[in-house]
């Protein structure tokens, strides 16, 4: 049997916390052969990235490898001097990060950053050769205008393109191993499918081995030969991809697989003459004069129902929320609340109109004041909108905490920093409920959360809706969320409504072409999904051409 390219034995990694060291990885083993792709899967905090970096012999500040070995091509990385390890990094082991926008240096062009490893650091190619190689890789990864795109700075290139440019950069020295750390998580589904296909082809072409880190099972199913499941630094199980998908052994793996099944009971259709809670009638809006970002958008939201506004980044779904809340006055059209036309601007709306409409945000981290306790965060809208003070106010805060399934005595005096991501999002929900609104805008409320946590949040929102008759407007790019919770779906692209209808209508053919593209881009758990989808698209394209 040939020796594996990478072999990790009994690896323990610790992270500094307050005064002591907390375990991040507890004795993980890993083997990877030449040309093989291993999928690492787990929720945030499982230690996937830490393990990926350890495969390069690299530790972030504040972490340390306390035990174990990392052997790459016969060399034990952890006992090598740092200078020798640097010679391997970038040249033989390369890294592709999740957020390419943050991992590209804003001060240099893409090509300069591409050629840095082969030319300036590892001296294996001349500048001209490296640039030619770069243009070839850009073309191979299907970047638009590969001859010219290297002259651009990172901020001049879109997220999906940057992600591909980063993959090209990792391949610059033809490495033996590439660590892909959630390379498509930040992308829209329609972009993700292109990047996935480009990465997979490129990996096959240069025959490199890869560790593919993600929390998305459907994605890893397309990319990996084997899958390893991690939970809080412990290995749960490892199996070849097809076996793992068909027959996960451990409870935890099964629970990961089951998450995508959540479906809420649809709410009944409203009566034809029922006045909607909120009516958006022919709204157009613009940030720059004569460059509308919303064109003639209309939809109704009825009491006790959920409407999902779906689209890619830049489709105008968040702008629609800004217009509804009055942050951005519409240039045309009107917003009605319970049949009454709302003033366009936030400042002209009455306190009661403001109270009726609340928001829950994507990043609970930044939406909660880190210096305020939970009591203050939830108590403030109670005092402002309902005029309650002192004991009455506290009573109400406790009621709300109970209704979001958090024990009041345990949490009321904590700061947001002491809570988990899911708990913070619950506080965000309680803050919105504190005003006793009729209508809540949920802006990507689950997209920063792990799947299991996200599902709990969706269940909670659903229960609150049933209890209180709330109307929700869900802004999301995630079709799984739409399928789980929406009664009515609005599909947006380039500031226009492409199609709208009930959930059943939207998920059964015939589709509007754009809806069809969106739906078919959502990765499925079938390892052959990517091949099939690409094949179908190619066929459809040739049909159109003929």
């Amino acid at each position: 049997m040939t020796k594996p390219l990478l072999s990790i034995r009994n690896l323990h990694i610790q992270g500094r916390q307050d005064a002591g060291w907390q375990p991040i990885i507890n004795g993980v083993n890993l083997d990877l052969n030449k040309g093989e792709v291993l999928g690492l899967i787990g929720e945030s905090g499982a230690g996937k990235s830490t393990l990926g970096l350890a495969a390069m012999g690299y530790c972030r500040d504040g972490t340390r490898i306390s035990q174990g070995t990392v052997t790459f091509d016969g060399m034990e990385l952890l006992s090598l001097p740092e200078r020798r390890r640097r010679r391997l990094r970038g040249a033989r082991i390369a890294y592709v990060a999740q957020s390419a926008a943050a991992y590209f240096n804003p001060a240099h062009t893409l090509m300069k950053q591409f050629t840095e490893a082969p030319v300036d650091i590892h001296h294996i190619e001349s500048q001209a050769d490296a640039e030619r190689h770069g243009r070839e890789l850009y073309a191979q990864l299907r970047l638009p205008n590969p001859a010219e795109i290297g002259f651009r700075y990172p901020h001049q290139v879109s997220g999906g393109q940057l992600q591909r440019a980063m993959t090209a950069m990792a391949m610059a020295c033809k490495p033996d191993l590439i660590i892909f750390d959630e390379p498509t998580t930040a992308l829209d589904v329609t972009t993700q499918i292109e990047v996935l296909a480009a990465i997979r082809d490129a990996v096959r072409d240069i025959g490199t081995a890869a560790i593919y880190i993600t929390h998305d099972l459907a994605v890893v199913a397309q990319m990996a030969d084997r899958i390893k499941v991690l939970l809080r630094g412990d290995e749960i199980e490892e199996q070849p991809t097809r076996d793992m998908l068909a027959n996960p052994q451990e409870e935890y793996s099964k629970s990961l697989w089951a998450v995508r099944q959540f479906r809420s009971e649809p709410n009944p259709e409203p009566a034809a003459d029922e006045c909607p809670v909120l009516r958006v009638a022919g709204i157009s809006a613009e940030y720059v004069r004569d460059q509308p970002v919303l064109r003639n958008v209309s939809f109704d939201i009825h009491k006790g129902r959920t409407i999902a506004v779906v689209g890619e980044s830049g489709s105008g779904k968040s702008t629609a929320a800004r217009v509804i809340t009055g942050l951005l006055p519409a240039s045309k059209g009107r917003i009605e609340l319970n049949g009454n036309v709302l003033p366009e601007r936030l400042a002209q709306r009455s306190k009661d109109q403001l109270r009726q409409m609340q928001m829950i945000y994507q990043m609970a981290d930044t939406a909660l004041n880190p210096k305020q306790t939970i009591r203050e965060i939830i108590g403030r809208p109670i005092q402002f909108y309902l005029g309650l003070r002192g004991r009455e106010r506290d009573e109400k805060v406790r009621d709300l905490l109970t209704s979001i399934e958090m024990e009041p005595d345990r949490f009321i005096d904590r700061l947001p920093g002491e809570l988990s991501g899911g708990q913070k999002q619950r506080i965000g929900i309680a803050r919105a409920l504190a005003a006793e609104p009729q209508f809540i805008i949920c802006d990507e409320v689950t997209s920063a959360l792990d799947q299991l946590v996200a599902e709990d949040i969706l269940r909670l929102l659903k229960r609150l809706q049933n209890e209180r008759g709330l109307a929700y407007m869900f802004i999301t790019h995630d079709l799984a969320t739409v399928r789980a919770i929406a009664d009515h779906v609005v599909v947006m692209q380039n500031g226009e409504v492409m199609e709208q209808g009930s959930r059943d209508q939207m998920f059964t053919p015939p589709h509007h072409p754009y809806t069809k593209l969106l739906l078919s881009s959502v990765a499925e758990m079938d390892p052959d999904w990517l091949d099939h989808t690409l094949e179908q698209r190619k066929k459809a394209q040739t049909d159109v051409d003929n």
């Binding site: 970096l53 390069m56 690299y58 972030r60 500040d61 640097r86 010679r87 391997l88 990094r89 970038g90 040249a91 390369a94 890294y95 990060a97 957020s99 943050a102 991992y103 590209f104 240096n105 804003p106 001060a107 240099h108 840095e116 490893a117 300036d120 650091i121 590892h122 651009r152 700075y153 901020h155 001049q156």
Partner: protein, 318 residues
Amino acid sequence: MHPLARMILHRLALGLLTLFVISLVIFMAIELLPGDLAEEVLGQSATPETVAAFRRELGLDLPAWQRYLSWLGGMVQGDFGMSLANNRPIVDLLASRLGNTLFLAAYAAVISVPLALCLGLLAALYRGSWFDRLVNVVTLTSISFPEYFVAYILLLFLSVRTGIFPSIADFGNDAGFGTMIYRTFLPAITLVLVVTAHMMRMTRAAIINLLAQPYIEMARLKGASPARVILRHALPNALAPIINVVALNLAYLITGVVIVEVVFVYPGLGQLMVDSVAKRDIPLVQACCLIFAAIYILLNLSADVFAIATNPRLMHRK
């Protein structure tokens, strides 16, 4: 038009507007000074008739806005008026003094700016080491003492005790370049000690601030050495704050050196201004203030322009 050129024009126009406002402030501040200029200059024994005649000669009998307009009008044409103390055109007095001040400032800047940048970069590279601490302690010590104290200590050891350098920096009218450098060495070094700490610490902090950025981690993962990480990846992104603090210190070197000039008897602009305040030579004081203001504005404007020119986000739009 190139966006940078348009931006420079825009900033220049704003700078002129600021200068105009400052001229108003200076004029009004001087108006508020107690006492009558003519009586002060002529002394207690002057008869009311001579005082009135002198006031007429200076235009002091005119209303304030007329005097302001004629002063401003003269300034715009390069006519700063006449000095009251010795009846010479202010332009002539300023020209040589300004040259001296700029020479000393440039001398100090040529030493201190590269020194501060290098020390800052090295301190960032070896942060936490004994070198980092030593540089911090030494520069902080030198900035913590008042300038005149540093100046007198240097004088005591390098001039009085050992006689290596002269204690009086005035090099006369037709000294060669070598003599100028030699005679002004002590004041220049005093200034270097005063301004280096500020620039060095800002360089160090700006670089270290960036070391937690993801693209720095990326550079390390590409195998870049620590020196390369700092010079190629952190420094280009840290230029804006560094440029700003350098500009502030250059402005200080020109406008804030009164004490050093007095200690070393150096005929610079600062000393001229102090003298003219003492002699109640109001037109000269006004002119000095305005020149200082113009230098401040110009340096800050260049800092803005450089900071923008080094930022690709602003230079290369989408």
